[in-house]
């Protein structure tokens, strides 16, 4: 351990700036140098260690050495300083490294990842990390697209949402449920309910809400024969997502369903407000 440099805050700032610009390889030497200047376990040392681990985790191109070093550092923080604010995130990151294929020929260790996700949820209840760990645990099953596993993932999410309806990530979990019920499970009633819940919680993909609205409306019309939901979402496409190019087709669908047909809103958030009356059945122009 050397003397703490006077300008360490400047260097630290520089290091984090590199991180924000995805320049992980340039941040690593700064954090590593600073880490050596502080006693192990100090707040600064923990910060530098965490930062170094983040950089190694995301450095490109990834290599076995950098990813393993990242895992080692995150693990060290989670094990030695479990009460620190970064411990839950460090543990979650270890799980993530185990779950993902980080570099060529990386071995995925789903069992380890799942155990660690469960550990995060159990050890840090009520935290954002605990919620995220539930989401990741479920994803580790649903992303296999193997039916029994997918059902396990769905059960994890459904159980969690039943017990924690106000979870901060409830909307995202519902969105995932909607996707999984659509494919591969093809349980359309549950799919639409989950998407509608995600919509209520404003958790649809920002700027791409129209795609989910279209899916809800189409599934409701074609698979569920649920006119009310179909009408609601075709109308939302026209009114709420004017730049999603399905407005006209939504008008046609509403007409087919015998529902009121709103005017296209394209340009209503912009100039040249263009309103188009409901199509009179002529689909070409």
């Amino acid at each position: 351990m050397g003397a703490v440099p006077g300008d360490y805050r400047e260097q630290l700032k520089k290091g984090w700036e590199h991180v924000q610009l995805y320049e992980f390889e340039r941040a690593i030497p700064i954090f590593k140098k600073l880490q050596r200047e502080f006693p192990e376990g100090s707040e600064e040392w923990i910060q530098m260690t965490f930062a170094t681990a983040v950089c190694y985790e995301h450095q490109t191109p990834p290599s076995k050495e950098t990813v393993q070093e990242s895992r080692r550092l995150f693990w060290l923080l989670a094990e030695k300083y479990p009460r620190h604010a970064c411990a839950a995130r460090a543990l979650l990151n270890v799980a993530r490294i185990d779950e993902l294929r980080n570099y060529y020929l990386d071995r995925i260790d789903l069992e380890s990842a799942r155990k660690l996700y469960q550990k995060v949820t159990a050890t840090y209840p009520g935290t954002l990390e605990a919620s995220e760990a539930v989401l990741r645990l479920a994803q580790s099953y649903t992303n296999t697209f193997n039916k029994p596993d997918v059902e396990t993932g769905v059960k994890i999410l459904e159980d969690w949402l039943r017990d924690h309806p106000k979870d901060p990530l409830a909307g995202i979990m519902s969105l995932l449920l909607g996707d999984v019920y659509f494919y591969p499970l093809a349980e359309y009633d549950k799919c639409v309910k989950a998407y509608m819940r995600a919509d209520e919680l404003k958790s649809l993909e920002p700027g791409k809400e129209g795609y989910t609205y279209w899916r809800i409306a189409r599934v409701a019309q074609d698979k569920l024969k649920n006119k009310d939901i179909a009408v609601k979402y075709y109308t939302k496409i026209i009114m709420d997502t004017p730049t999603f190019a399905k407005g006209y087709q939504s008008q046609l669908a509403l007409k087919e369903l015998g529902a009121p047909v709103p005017e296209l809103q394209w340009g209503s958030i912009g100039g040249r407000k263009r309103t188009t009356t409901a199509p009179a059945g002529e689909v070409r122009k």
């Binding site: 930062a51 983040v54 989401l135 279209w214 190019a245 340009g267 040249r272 263009r274």
Partner: protein, 544 residues
């Protein structure tokens, strides 16, 4: 050696020397003037780089710059106009060397196209666009978030992998058909545009008949590889969207390359389907009205044919309007692509025109992250994209403005994006190999070198080629999704570590939620893609 010869030589050398001295001092003066302009210590100088060499653009931009300078006498704005041929190289070089212009039109450069460089060299705009643009004060946009003052809410400027906005738009673009009204009047007997495809073809035939009678080289439509693709895309979409119910098994409104191919393998789509056949027959009929050999002709040559009255029509985008208006010595009309009427040939196979609701915004400028005059450059961007200036600028260059409440020039209103129509279609292309084969085959088919069936065989063989066709396309698609997920994972790492320690980014809750939503969606889509391919094509993608 005679005196005469010596005098002649001395005179020549003297003139050359004088010219050299004049040139030297001329250059020196020019350098000094430029240096004064660029390095004037009393002024904050910013530079704005673009590749728009179309007629009128530089003048219109210059007018905006001078107006801004009047408001801010301590600021000097300099345009750097570079040909699009070299624009990418110039921008890349200056970005790397740290001498880039303060504002850079976003395009042509790998530094703009690739996320990792974009993040490194350009200012993320999220933090700026959530506040009102003060130059909109006194209009209905006063107090409206800058982002919401654009017709598309700046969605076109969002980089998904980086979850950030880069660049501020200036214009929007659509495509239409330009025509010579005087020529229509003379040959067709009126100057109204055709309303249906049948009328369109009749007009073309009348023009050809007239050309034969008059023994001129006049053709109905000026074609080129560039221009004809616009026609082809529009008409193929009109037919292709009929396949949406069968091929959009994801129920999200789109037919991607792999959905097209799965449909093909599952028999939901066939090359000789009447709809597909009708679509290509229409293209074939249409292209008989272009000049011979049009696929080997460049964009400029086609425009030349039109303005020289060697062709009665040409298709292009609103970006060419001003150039065509200025160069043509006749009245220029514009019309939308006429669709076949129900009772006309092809009519029963057409679904309808293509919707333009998704027309994004373009002509955007990014802010160089290391600009020494970042605040000034940002303020100029606000001025440039204010309601009044955006309208003025676009009217001056005859482009479509993009700010709420603005109006294009009267003669450009026909270019205003029309949301009526269908959004989904497909092409017989999945991956670069099939793209090349398709374009080659299409050229041969349209030039009567191969039959429709031979064209089909060529493209199906290319798609079915396991080495270069579908499998390669699928692998590249999957890799691309995986790269996006990886970048989102990186971003999540950045946002979360920032929240734990330096807390420099701000607005953590929203940012974290957005990243997580997109990452969850993309990871799901990526694995769904792999699973559907595995089940639909009985294949396993090799993942590195």
């Amino acid at each position: 050696m005679s005196w005469k010869k010596i005098n002649k030589e001395a005179l020549g050398n003297g003139i050359a020397g004088c010219l050299l001295v004049v040139a030297f001092f001329g250059s020196l003066t020019q350098i000094r003037r430029t240096a004064q302009e660029v390095f004037d210590p009393t002024k904050k100088t910013i530079s704005i780089a673009h590749w728009q060499l179309e007629l009128g653009y530089r003048d219109a931009l210059d007018k905006v710059c001078r107006e801004y300078e009047k408001l801010h006498p301590d600021v000097k704005i300099r345009q750097v106009a570079v040909s699009e041929k070299f624009y990418g190289q110039v921008v890349n070089t200056h970005l790397v060397s740290g001498t880039a212009p303060d504002l850079i039109e976003m395009g042509f450069s790998t530094m703009v196209q690739m996320d990792q460089y974009l993040a490194r060299y350009f200012e993320p705009m999220s933090g700026h666009i959530q506040y009102p643009n003060p130059y909109n004060n006194g209009t209905e946009l006063e107090g409206v978030r800058w982002q919401d003052t654009f017709i598309d809410g700046m969605q076109s400027w969002y980089r998904e992998a980086l979850q950030e906005y880069y660049g501020i738009p200036s214009s929007a673009f659509t495509v239409r058909v330009f025509y010579n009204k005087d020529m229509f009047q003379k040959i067709v007997g009126h100057d109204r545009p055709p309303k249906t495809f049948g009328e369109f073809m009749n007009i073309c035939e009348k023009i050809e008949t007239s050309a034969k009678q008059e023994k001129t080289t006049l053709v109905p439509i000026a074609g080129s590889l560039y221009n004809s693709r616009i026609f082809f895309e529009r008409y193929l979409n009109a037919f292709g969207s009929r396949y949406e119910p069968a091929l959009d098994f994801g129920y999200d409104g789109g037919i991607t390359g792999y959905r097209m191919y799965l449909g093909l393998r599952q028999g939901k789509l066939k090359w000789d389907d009447p709809t597909n056949k009708a679509a290509f027959e229409l293209l074939h009929e249409l292209s008989q009205h272009f000049q011979p050999g049009f696929m080997a002709v460049g964009r400029e040559q086609a425009a030349f044919l039109f303005v020289q009255e060697q062709a009665a029509m040409i298709t292009s985008g609103s970006w060419d309007a001003e150039s065509l208006f200025r160069q043509a010595r006749f009245k220029v009309g514009i019309f939308d692509f006429p669709m076949p009427a129900k009772d006309e040939k092809y009519g029963q196979y057409v679904r309808g025109r293509q919707s333009e609701a998704g027309t994004g915004t373009g002509g955007g400028f990014g802010l160089y992250r290391l600009s020494k005059q970042k605040e000034v450059a940002l303020d100029f961007l606000k001025f440039f994209s204010s309601k009044r200036i955006n309208q003025q600028f676009n009217q001056d260059i005859t482009w479509i403005p993009v700010v709420v409440g603005t109006q294009p020039k009267e003669n450009l209103k026909v270019f205003a994006p029309d949301p009526v129509g269908y959004a989904s279609s497909f092409t017989w292309v999945w991956g670069s190999h099939s793209d090349e084969v398709y374009m080659g085959g299409l050229t041969q088919y349209l030039q009567n070198e191969i039959s429709f069936d031979q064209f089909g065989k060529t493209i199906l063989d290319a798609l079915n080629d396991k080495t270069y066709g579908w499998y390669k396309a699928a692998t590249l698609d999957y890799e691309s999704m995986r790269n996006t997920v990886t970048m989102q994972e990186q971003l999540l790492g950045i946002v979360l570590s920032d929240h734990l320690f330096p807390k420099a980014i701000g607005n953590f809750d929203q940012k974290y939620r957005e990243v997580l939503i997109r990452q969850t969606k993309m990871a799901q889509a990526q694995e769904e893609y792999r699973d559907r391919l595995q089940k639909g094509l009985s294949t396993t993608l090799e993942v590195k």
